[in-house]
């Protein structure tokens, strides 16, 4: 299992900040597709991903126990 964290409008869309999914071995791109299919979560295409608190690209493969966060364009400061 991997833990998926969602923020900002994604969190609002899902109704919660965190969800566990069975996605070990998938790429980030595939995790996005799975979330879109399982939770009807839209607009993940343009969103950055982080694995274990570091930015990761679409080809990164996630492994069991990873924390995957989806990071919409940031607006701090």
């Amino acid at each position: 299992m991997i833990k998926v964290l969602l923020f900002a409008h994604l969190k609002d869309a899902l109704g919660k900040e965190e969800v566990s999914i069975d996605a070990a071995g998938l790429t980030i791109a595939a995790v996005k597709e799975k979330l879109a299919a399982d939770f009807k979560l839209e607009g993940l295409d343009a969103v950055m991903a982080a694995v274990n608190e570091e930015f990761a690209d679409e080809d990164t493969v996630v492994t069991d126990g990873d924390i995957v966060a989806f990071i919409p364009p940031v607006s701090g400061g």
Binding site: E53, E54, A69, I71, G77
Partner: protein, 154 residues
């Protein structure tokens, strides 16, 4: 702890105190405050949300990047989270350097980087609605799904 998030109001002086040094001749601070009017729309209040663990790491990364470019600089950044009213302080960046030019440049670098890589988001609340605000650099979103190497390094 020169890089932190705070749920409570930020005390500017305490951020400055972290960078004061006998070899500093200049300290610059940037204080981001909640503005009432943006593009003709009146903001009532803001909510800042953060991916806290990663946000602190990214603030630390910005500090490391500054130390690499300006070896004599000391940097401290505190970013607020939660609900903020008009004129409340969202972020304080303090940079000290021996000479003033570097203090301005390094401080400027820090705020631009915060707006690129630190996972913090604000939700604006107006009289007629609310919205999570996206990338305020007004650049295109990252097609590759994360900042390109040149985005992260420049």
């Amino acid at each position: 702890m020169n890089f932190e998030l705070s749920k409570k109001p930020i005390d500017i002086q305490s951020v400055i105190d972290k960078v004061v040094s006998r070899n500093a001749g200049a300290v610059t601070t940037f204080i981001g405050t909640v503005r009432e009017m943006t593009k003709g729309k009146k903001t009532l209040f803001l909510i800042y949300d953060a991916y806290e663990a990663m946000a602190v790491k990214k603030l630390e990364q910005i500090g490391a990047e500054i130390s690499e470019r300006w070896p004599d600089a000391n940097t401290a950044i505190t970013h607020r989270t939660g609900k903020l009213e008009i004129t409340d302080i969202a972020v304080v960046i303090a940079v000290s350097t021996p000479h003033r030019n570097d203090a301005y440049e390094a401080n400027r670098y820090a705020i631009e980087r915060i707006k690129e890589i630190v996972p913090i988001w604000k939700k604006e609340h107006w009289e007629d609605g609310e919205k999570w605000i996206g990338n305020q650099l007004e650049t295109v979103e990252y097609p590759a799904g994360k900042p390109e190497k040149e985005d992260l390094d420049d």
